[in-house]
C-alpha cells in the first residue's frame, strides 16, 4: 500500500510541475503586453524591451521557469509586479475562504448523493423518482442563476441568511455557517445531480450481479449486502466523478464569490490576470494544480482502499 | 496425404499487465500438423494454451518463437497484406455464437462483407450468400434478419457459413459447440462433418470436450500447460492413451451410464 501511495504522490507532483510549466509557456507569449502594462500607456517599443530586460522577462524561458520553480519549492513565490505584495501570503489569506466553500460543498454533495443514489437503486419507487427529479433539476439550471435566485429569495426577501460577506470560522462558527450556507447550496446543485445519477446507475448494476444473489442465499441481511458489498464495488467509478466535480466546483466557486462578495481568491486571480501580473498568476496556477492533485490523490487512495485489484496489480 | 498446416516449436508469450510486470509464456514450443481434408483435434483444459494455438495460426496473436507454415509458406510473421490474402484459405468459427456476430448488421451483411472486400461483385456476392445459407441449412430469408432473432445453434450456423464463404482450405474451429445445448450440439457437429465430406476442407478443431473431439477428429493432440503431451490417431488417443494426463482426462469425463460411471470413477480414484 505504501508503494502505491508513493507512486501516486510522485505522479501527482510531476503533473503539477508539467502543468505550471505549460502555463508559463503559454503566458510567455504575452510578456510584451505585461511589460507595457507596467509602464502604462504610450510606451515605445524600446522602453518595453528595456522594461522586459529589467524584469528578467527576456531571459531564455527554461531559465525563467527554472528560477521560479527553484524558489517555489522553497516556499518563495515572489511578489506582485504592481503592489509588491508577497504572493504566497496574499493567496493563502484568500484561499481559506474559497476552500471552505468548496470543501463543505464537496462533502455535502458526497453524503447526499450516496444516500440518494443508494436509496433510489435499492428501493425504487417513489424514492427513485424523487432522486431522478432532483438530479434533473440540478442539471437544468446553471448554478449561476440558482445562486442569484437564492440570494433574492433568502437574503433579500426573507432575510434569513446574509446576502453578502463572509465571517471567518475562527471568529464565529455560527455566523460562518450562515454566511456560506447559500453559496454552498448553489455550488452543490450540479454536483448532486451528476453524482447521484452516477451512484444510482452503478448501484443498480452491482445489485444485479451474481454475487449479490449468492450473499442473499447465505442469509446475510439486505442492508449489509447493499452497504458493505454493493456500495463498495460501485464506489470506484463514482470517485472518478467526484474528482471531476471538484474541478467544476473550484470554477463555480469563483463565480459564486463574485455574487456573494466573498473575499476568496477568485477576484484576486481575476485582477492579477487582467494586469498580467505574472508572479501572482503563476502562484495561483501552482495552488490550483496542487489542490487538484491533492484531491486526486485522496480519491486514488480511497479507490485503492476500496478496490483491492487497483492496489495490488498496478 | 499432403500437409496443409505445419506448426513447429511454436512459442507464444503474453505480456504482463501494468508498466513493468513480468510476461509469461503460454506455449512452450508446440508442434503439430494438419493434412489436407483431415481434422486434427486439439484437446486441453483451460489455461492449456489450446485457444492460443488457433489464434497464432489465424494471425490474431504474434508468436515469440517457432514457425507456422501453410502450404509450405512461412506465415509466422505475415504482414497485414499477406494476412488478407490468407483470409481466402484460412478461416475461423469461434465459440460464442452471441458475440461472434455483429449485432447491428443483418445476416446478409455479415456474410457478404468479406466477399465484397475481396472484390466480389454485389450481385455475385448475394448469390453466394444464398448458396451458403442453403449449405448450412438456414432459410433464405435469414439474410434480411438480425442475429438477435436467431437461436444460439442457428447463429453458429451463420458463423460456419461465414467461414465457408471464401471456400477455404482450413478452418480453425475454436470450441464451436461448447456454448450449445445437447440436442443442438449434435446437429452442428453433424453439419461440420458433412461439410468436410462434401468440400474437403480441413479442420483444426479445438475443444475441451473429449466426446466432441472424438466425433469429428481423425487425429488428436493433447495439450497440457503449454506442451503437447500426446499425438496420435483418434482411436489410439481416446481409447488407449499413452500419457498419464490423457488417461486422467479420459477418466475424469463422466459417462452417461450409472454402472459404467461407477467403474470409471473407481478407476480414476485408483490413479
Amino acid at each position: 500500500m505504501t508503494v502505491y501511495v508513493l507512486r501516486r504522490l510522485t505522479a501527482g507532483l510531476v503533473l503539477a510541475v508539467l502543468v505550471t510549466m505549460i502555463t508559463f509557456l503559454l503566458l510567455s507569449t504575452s510578456f510584451d503586453d505585461v511589460a507595457s502594462s507596467v509602464l502604462g500607456n504610450g510606451a515605445t517599443p524600446g522602453q518595453i524591451a528595456a522594461q522586459k530586460a529589467q524584469m528578467g522577462l527576456d531571459r531564455p524561458l527554461a531559465v525563467q521557469y527554472g528560477d521560479w520553480l527553484s524558489h517555489a519549492v522553497r516556499g518563495d513565490l515572489g511578489a506582485s509586479y504592481f503592489t509588491s505584495e508577497p504572493v504566497r501570503s496574499a493567496i493563502t489569506a484568500r484561499l481559506g475562504v474559497t476552500l471552505s466553500i468548496v470543501v463543505v460543498a464537496l462533502l455535502a454533495t458526497s453524503v447526499i448523493s450516496v444516500a440518494l443514489g443508494v436509496a433510489a437503486a435499492a428501493r425504487g419507487g417513489a424514492v427513485d423518482r424523487f432522486a431522478q427529479g432532483a438530479a434533473m433539476t440540478g442539471y437544468l439550471v446553471p448554478s449561476l442563476l440558482v445562486a442569484i435566485a437564492l440570494v433574492y429569495v433568502f437574503a433579500v426577501r426573507l432575510h434569513v441568511f446574509p446576502a453578502t460577506g463572509y465571517t471567518d470560522f475562527s471568529e464565529n462558527p455560527a455566523r460562518w455557517a450562515s454566511s456560506i450556507a447559500i453559496p454552498v447550496v448553489a455550488l452543490m446543485m450540479g454536483g448532486v445531480a451528476s453524482l447521484t445519477s452516477q451512484i444510482r446507475g452503478a448501484m443498480i448494476g452491482e445489485l444485479r450481479k451474481d454475487y449479490v444473489r449468492t450473499l442473499r442465499t447465505r442469509g446475510i441481511p439486505t442492508r449489509s449486502i447493499v452497504l458493505r458489498h454493493a456500495l463498495r464495488n460501485a464506489a470506484g467509478p463514482a470517485l472518478t466523478v467526484l474528482s471531476l466535480e471538484f474541478i467544476q466546483m473550484l470554477g463555480g466557486a469563483l463565480i459564486i464569490e463574485q455574487i456573494f462578495a466573498l473575499p476568496g481568491f477568485g477576484q484576486y486571480a481575476f485582477n492579477a490576470s487582467l494586469q498580467g501580473d505574472v508572479p501572482i498568476i503563476m502562484g495561483i496556477s501552482l495552488f490550483g494544480v496542487l489542490l487538484v492533485v491533492a484531491v486526486n490523490l485522496v480519491v486514488d487512495l480511497l479507490n485503492g482502499w476500496l478496490n483491492p485489484k487497483a492496489r495490488i496489480v498496478s | 496425404m499432403t500437409t496443409l498446416l505445419e506448426v513447429s516449436d511454436l512459442r507464444v508469450t503474453y505480456p504482463g499487465r501494468g508498466f513493468r510486470a513480468r510476461s509469461h509464456e503460454v506455449l512452450h514450443g508446440v508442434s503439430l500438423t494438419v493434412g489436407q481434408s483431415e481434422t486434427l483435434g486439439v484437446v486441453g483444459e483451460s489455461g492449456s494454451g489450446k485457444t492460443t494455438i488457433g489464434r497464432a495460426v489465424l494471425g490474431l496473436v504474434a508468436p515469440s518463437g517457432g514457425t507456422v507454415r501453410f502450404r509450405g509458406n512461412d506465415i509466422t510473421r505475415a504482414g497485414r497484406a499477406e494476412r488478407r490474402a490468407l483470409a481466402r484459405d484460412i478461416q475461423v468459427v469461434f465459440q460464442d455464437p452471441y458475440s461472434s456476430l455483429n449485432p447491428a448488421l443483418t445476416i446478409g451483411d455479415i456474410l457478404g462483407e468479406p466477399l465484397i472486400v475481396q472484390g466480389t461483385e454485389t450481385s455475385e456476392a448475394r448469390r453466394r450468400v444464398a448458396e451458403l445459407l442453403d449449405q448450412v441449412g438456414l432459410p433464405k430469408d435469414a439474410s434480411q434478419r438480425l442475429p438477435r432473432e436467431f437461436s444460439g445453434g442457428q447463429r453458429q450456423r451463420v458463423a460456419i457459413a461465414r467461414a465457408l464463404a471464401p471456400a477455404p482450405r482450413l478452418i480453425v474451429c475454436d470450441e464451436p459447440v461448447s456454448a450449445l445445448d445437447l440436442t443442438t450440439q449434435a446437429r452442428v457437429l453433424d453439419l461440420l462433418v458433412d461439410i468436410q465430406r462434401r468440400t474437403g476442407v480441413a479442420y483444426l478443431f479445438i475443444s475441451h470436450d473429449l466426446a466432441v473431439i472424438r466425433q469429428v477428429s481423425h487425429r488428436v493432440s493433447v495439450i497440457h500447460h503449454g506442451d503437447i503431451v500426446e499425438t496420435g490417431t483418434a482411436a489410439q488417443v481416446t481409447t488407449a492413451p499413452e500419457h498419464p494426463y490423457t488417461e486422467r482426462l479420459l477418466l475424469a469425463a463422466p459417462v452417461a451410464d450409472p454402472a459404467e460411471q461407477r467403474q470409471r470413477r473407481e478407476a480414476r480414484q485408483r490413479l
Binding site: L26, V212, T214, R218, G219, S285 | A252
Partner: protein, 585 residues
Amino acid sequence: MTTPNADTRRRSTLRRLIADPQAVVSASLLVVIVLLGLLAPVLSDHGADEANLDAVNAGVGDHGYLLGGDKSGRDIFARLLYSIDTSVVSALIGTSIALAIGITSGLVGGYFGRRVRGVAEWLFSLIMTFPGLLLLIVLMPVTKGDYKATMIVFGVLLSPGIYRLVRNLVLGVKNELYVDAARVSGLPDRRILRRHVLTVVRGPVIIATAFLAGSSIAVQSGLAFLGVGSNTVPSFGAMISEGFTNLYEEPLQFLWPSLALGIITASLVLLGNALRDALEGGRPKPARIVTATAYRPPATESAVSGLLTVDDLAIAYPTPTGELKEVVSGVTLSVAAGETLGLVGESGSGKTQTAFAALGVLPSEAVVTRGSIRLDGRELLGLSERELRAVRGTSIAYVPQEPMSNLDPSSTVGAQLVEGVRAATPMSTGEARNRVLALLARVGIPEPERTFRSYPHQISGGMAQRVLIAGAVASRPLLLIADEPTTALDVTVQAEILDLLRDLRREPNMTVLLVTHNFGVVADICDRVAVMRAGTVVETGTTEELFARPQHPYTRTLLDSILDETTLRTDPPATPAGALETEKR
C-alpha cells in the same frame, strides 16, 4: 450492401425521437432560438452596442426598444439576439475541439495497442489536472479575453471526457469476437473501425455532444459574468452581470438574459436525455432485493411428500407489452430426505427458475402465479425477505454455477464466508473464523489460512468453487441446491468437485437438488432424475430406470443426443473430386 432491416432500425430510432415530447420540444426550442440569433440583424433595428443616453433603463416598449433598455441605454432585445450568436459560436468551438481531439485519440488509443494508449492516458491525465475555469481566467493575457480563443482552450479541457468515453467503447468492442472474425475475414483496419467500431461509438458521442454544448455555453456565460472578455461582445453572462448590479431597481434587466440562458441550457439537457432514451433504450431500472411475496398459496394438504415438495409451480415474467409470459408452467416434483435429485433440461426449460423460486431469489420482475414450495412441511412461497433469512443457510443453501462472478471482488474470501456463517448462526467472530478455516480444509483447499486472506481474483476457478461450496454447507443445511456447479469448470476439476459433493452429502445426510444439463453428472451422483422441458416436468424416475428405459420421447431425444463414447471418425480424409474449387485459383 445495406439491407432493408438496417434502414428500418435507423428509422425506428428517428420515430422514437419524434414521438418523445421531450425531444420535440427541446429540439424545436433550440432551432427557433438559433434562427432568432441568425436573423438578429433583420429582427432588430438597433445594434448590440448602440447606446442611446436617452434610453438608459428604458421600460418595455420605450424608444422602440422591445424589451427596454439597459443601464447604458442599449437595446436589450437586440443584445439578447446577438448574445445567442455568441453562445452558438461558443458551443460550436468548444464542442468541435473536444470531439475532434477526444474521438481521434479515443479511437486510436483504444484500437491500436497498449503503448499508444499509455501515452494517450498520460496526456489526458495531464489535461485533467489543469484547474478548469481558473486556468481560463489566468490565461487572459494570452487569450486577450477573446471568447473564441478561450473556448478553444476549454475544448481542450473537455476532451479527456470524450477520450475516456470513446476509448472505453472501442476497448469493449475490440474484445468482441466479431471484430476478431472481421480481421480473419481479411477486412482492413480502416473498414473495421468504420463499420464495426464507429457504429458503437456513434450513439454515446451524439448524446455527449448535447451535454458538451450545454457546458460550453454555461462556462462562457460564467466567464463573461466575471468580466473576462471584452464588454463589446454581447453575451448572456455580461448581461446577467449588468442586470445583477441593478437587481433591486430594474429586476427585468436581469430576468430577460437569465430566462434566455436558462431555456437554452435546459433544452440542451433535455435533448441529451431524450437522445439517450432513444439511442440507448432509456435509463436502467432499480433492482430491488425482494421476494415475490404477492402470491401466497392456500394452506392445503400437499399432493406430494418429501423434504422439498414443489406443487404445480408457475412463474411468469411481464413482456414489453405488459402481458405475462410463463417460463415455468406447473412443475411438480419432490425430493426425499437424504436423496440427490437431478433436475435436467436444456436452456429455457425453467430448471434454474424453479431452483431460484425455492431459494426465494427470483428477480423482482418475476411473478409467481400459482403453486406451492414446501420445505419440511413449511411453505416457502409468500415469505418475506426477513422470514426467508431465517431459513437460508441453516435449512436451505445454494451453490452457483459460475464461481468467479459469485464472489464479491472487493472482500476477502474469509470475510465473506465468516459473514455468511454468522448470519445463519449467531456466534463470535473468532468462532466463525475457526469454523470457516476448518471448512476450507474440509473442502480440499491446500492452504486454508492463505485462501482465507486472499481476494477472489487471486484464486483459481476450481478453488473458488470449493470456497462457494464451503460457504453453502457451513451452517449444515438440510437441503443444498446446486445450480450446474461443475459446468464452468475443467473436466478434471469437475470430477474432484463431484467427489467432494458426494462426500459432503454423506455427513449430515444432506439432501441435494442438482440442476444440470450433463447426463454424465447425473449418472455419477444422482439417485433420482426429473427431466424438464419448456417449463414442465416431462418425466421422473430413478437414475437407472431413466437411462435404461426412458419413457417420454423428449427424454429419449436427449439421451440420443449424448455423444457416444465409442463413435469415431471412420472415413479417412479424402479429397472429393471437383469439390475443391481452390485449384481454380
